[in-house]
């Protein structure tokens, strides 16, 4: 190898080896995370936390999956640890308050839920919290198809009605809840009650006509998300018709509809019957010809 080529080869080797050295790379700037903590309580049972993690990319918020978060009740200390969760593809993670924190829960009328993230290679450390007061919601359905929701807050040792809370009265459906009438939300009065008339007569229910009514307080600054359900027999009886294994156009070959078979096979039988007759007709013509030939030969 020529000395000039040798030095070029050496230089290229050094560049190649140094390309792996991190000192050449720019330090990537870590992104910030936004952590939202939401509080849910359904049918006045065990409270649930749902954490949503987002980050801003090109000016738009995007959900962040795979973020490991620690959840605490009131304080970021070991004795008040609710649990560790990891966000899913929607940037969400859920946890229930464990029985070990029952006494802590009973000690106060208001609680702070804290979510912390320690940071990683891509994101800075972050935290989020939500403060909620203890509250409950009740639902009642009258015989005149009036639905009443009552919202109460725990004050000292008793439940006190709350005025001015927006309540959604709806029917549980498969995809989303359907409002009981055209009013999207009702506001509680001084007795903590909000009422609405059921205007969805004829809505399909289960086999007995049962439907599930739901009263919801959504994203309330003080109480978080409260909901309660009640089953009433106000729907139309719905009998599920399962076409699987029945005679349909989309069934297997042995389950073809009879009307289709009748029509198709009748047409085939008639047309092919004609064709068979016409083939026999050829033999008839042949016979006449053969008889003539035989007659000529006899003569």
């Amino acid at each position: 190898m020529k000395p000039q080529n040798k030095s070029i080869a050496t230089l290229l080797t050094i560049i190649f080896l140094l390309s792996g050295y991190k000192g050449f790379t720019q330090t990537a700037q870590k992104a910030d995370l936004s952590i939202a903590v939401n509080y849910f309580i359904s049918n006045n049972k065990v409270p649930r936390l749902m954490v949503k993690v987002k980050t801003k990319v090109n000016g738009r918020f995007q959900n962040v999956a795979g973020i490991s978060l620690k959840l605490f009740l009131d304080k970021d200390t070991a004795g008040k640890f609710i649990g560790k969760v990891v966000t899913n593809d929607d940037g969400e993670a859920t946890a229930y308050i464990p029985p070990s924190l029952k006494s802590q829960w009973g000690n106060s009328l208001k609680h702070i839920f804290v979510a912390t993230f320690d940071g990683n290679k891509k994101y800075e450390s972050a935290n989020g919290d939500v403060t909620v007061a203890k509250a409950k919601i009740l639902i009642d359905a009258g015989s005149d198809k009036t639905i009443t929701a009552s919202v109460f807050e725990m004050k000292d040792t008793s439940w006190v009605p709350v005025k001015g809370v927006d309540v959604v009265l709806a029917i549980r459906r498969m995809g989303a809840d359907l409002a009981i009438n055209d009013t999207p939300a009702f506001t509680t009065d001084s007795t903590g009650k909000a009422s609405g008339d059921f205007k969805r007569d004829g809505i399909p229910g289960d086999a007995k006509g049962n439907i599930i009514l739901v009263a919801k307080v959504l994203d309330n600054d003080q109480y978080g998300n409260l909901s309660v359900e009640k089953t009433v027999p106000w729907g139309a009886k719905f009998t599920m018709v399962n076409l699987f294994g029945k005679r349909t156009l989309f069934a297997t070959r042995d389950k073809a509809p009879l009307w289709l078979q009748l029509i198709a096979y009748s047409i085939m039988f008639i047309v092919w019957g004609i064709l068979v007759y016409l083939v026999f007709n050829v033999f008839k013509i042949k016979k006449i010809g053969e008889d003539i030939t035989a007659g000529i030969k006899k003569q």
């Binding site: 156009l249 004609i274 064709l275 007659g295």
Partner: protein
């Protein structure tokens, strides 16, 4: 009228139609003999041999391409997940369409009492038989492995339009064969008289298929009855065959196929291309076999009028098929429609409309345009335009599914047939023409007995 005594003894009471007997011998006039000698099948000349050689060569290339498809699978084609029906199915629809001419010229004309069409009936029937044979074969080619055709019968569902198509194509094939065969019987009897000129093998073949025909009134009665039954049967079967073919598309929810108009649209197009094929064949046979006395200018004049009517009818259905979706321009169909009107497929689309319908109509509207050569040119335009029209019915739709294509290889987004697809398709077209050529070599292309009968009726 001068008469010849044919050396064939017949018994009393068994005299053929339009013949008289002297001392138990059949008598045929000199005029009839002239007709017979004019219409007998002719051996291939130099041009004929070259023609057969070229067609055979194209078929052999197609067979080699099919061997490659069998050896390596359908991957040798350009068909992928989206365009799973490509040039093969376009060709299949073309063959099914062209086969409908048998029912138009033979059955519709016969039942409507159109006498002038009788010299064209055999041409139409031969085209129908050749086309329906290759329609069936091309479907097997499209399936990939041929044993899948067998599975169709074993596992086929009567609910599926594909099974309906298999049934009606088979039925139509048998009807077309019978409709070709029955009117041939009297001609076979004539052909058997020319043992020397026909050759041994052909003579044996004629004897096998028709030596029993003696031309007795009873045989004529049975044959006429059978032909009438066939003519009545073939019309609904012909309508069914192409309506069911259209339903293969219309029952599939895709842009451009979601139409209630498809059955009528396909049938009108089929009659047009069938009539186009007949005028092309008429011109070629007239020239090749010197049949100017039998396929006259008047036939071209009348077939020209039929073509204009059918072209205008098909144009009307095309307007129905494209104008209303164009007016609405639904978002889900916009890309497909724009692709046809002004996009990638626009040159082909406007070629099919202009060359397949509008220009032939303009040519044939004028008396001078209905002379043999212009009619022949218009016929070629109709047939070529019709082939591309079938391609446009199949491919653009498959390239524009309702749900957008995501994360698919680039080859899924486009379709241009591979050389194997072209070779097989051209091979099938050559094969159909080869069958027509061979049948025209074996059988009289114009019914001899029928021409003699008509001659006698005219003389009376």
């Amino acid at each position: 009228m001068e008469n010849l005594i044919i050396n064939e003894k017949i018994t009393k009471g068994q005299l053929p139609k339009n013949s008289v007997s002297i001392a138990n011998h059949k008598i045929i006039s000199i005029a009839d003999e002239k007709i017979i000698s004019d219409l007998l099948p002719q051996k291939f000349g130099k041009a004929g041999k070259i023609w057969v050689g070229v067609l055979t060569a194209i078929c052999l290339v197609g067979l080699y391409a099919y061997y490659r498809q069998l050896r390596y699978g359908l991957i040798v084609t350009s068909m992928r997940d989206y365009v799973s029906w490509g040039i093969y199915i376009s060709n299949f629809v073309f063959f099914v369409a062209i086969s409908l001419v048998g029912s138009l010229i033979t059955a519709v004309f016969r039942l409507a009492g159109v006498k002038w069409g009788s010299p064209l009936t055999r041409i139409a029937e031969i085209i129908a038989v050749a086309a329906i044979i290759f329609a069936s074969l091309i479907i097997i080619v499209d399936m990939g492995s041929p044993e899948r055709f067998y599975y169709l019968f074993i596992y086929g569902r009567i609910q599926s339009p594909i099974i309906w198509d298999v049934i009606v194509i088979t039925t139509y094939f048998f009807i077309s064969i019978l409709l070709l065969y029955y009117p041939l019987l009297p001609d076979i009897q004539i052909l058997l008289r020319f043992k020397q000129s026909t050759g041994k093998r052909l003579y044996r073949f004629y004897s096998f298929i028709g030596s029993f025909w003696k031309g007795t009134p009873e045989q004529f009665r049975l044959s006429e009855k059978a032909i009438n039954i066939l003519c009545i049967t073939i019309i609904p079967v012909a309508f069914t065959i192409h309506t069911v073919t259209s339903w293969l598309f219309a029952t599939t929810y895709r842009p451009g196929w979601d139409s209630t108009n498809f059955g009528a649209y396909f049938i009108s197009g089929a009659f047009l291309v069938g009539a186009g094929a007949v005028v092309v064949a008429m011109y070629i046979f007239r020239k090749a076999q010197h049949l100017e006395k039998y396929i006259t200018e008047d036939h071209f004049e009348k077939m020209g009028r039929v073509l204009v009517l059918l072209a205008l009818l098909y144009l009307y259905f095309n307007m129905n098929e494209f104008l209303t979706p164009f007016f609405k321009m639904k978002e889900s169909e916009a890309e497909y429609l724009n692709g046809l009107f002004s996009g990638n497929f626009a040159p082909l689309f406007w070629f099919a409309i202009l060359i397949g319908m509008i220009v032939p109509t303009l040519i044939l509207l004028f008396k001078k345009g209905r002379k043999p050569l212009p009619v022949f040119i218009a016929g070629i335009m109709v047939v070529v335009g019709a082939w591309f029209k079938r391609y446009l019915i199949v491919t653009p739709t498959l390239l524009h599914p309702f749900l957008p294509m995501h994360d698919v290889p680039e080859s899924y987004r486009h379709y241009f047939p591979s050389w194997e697809e072209w070779a097989i398709t051209l091979g099938s077209l050559a094969g159909a023409m080869l069958i027509i050529t061979i049948l025209a070599r074996i059988f009289p292309i114009i019914p001899i007995q029928e021409t003699i009968t008509e001659q006698h009726e005219t003389t009376k």
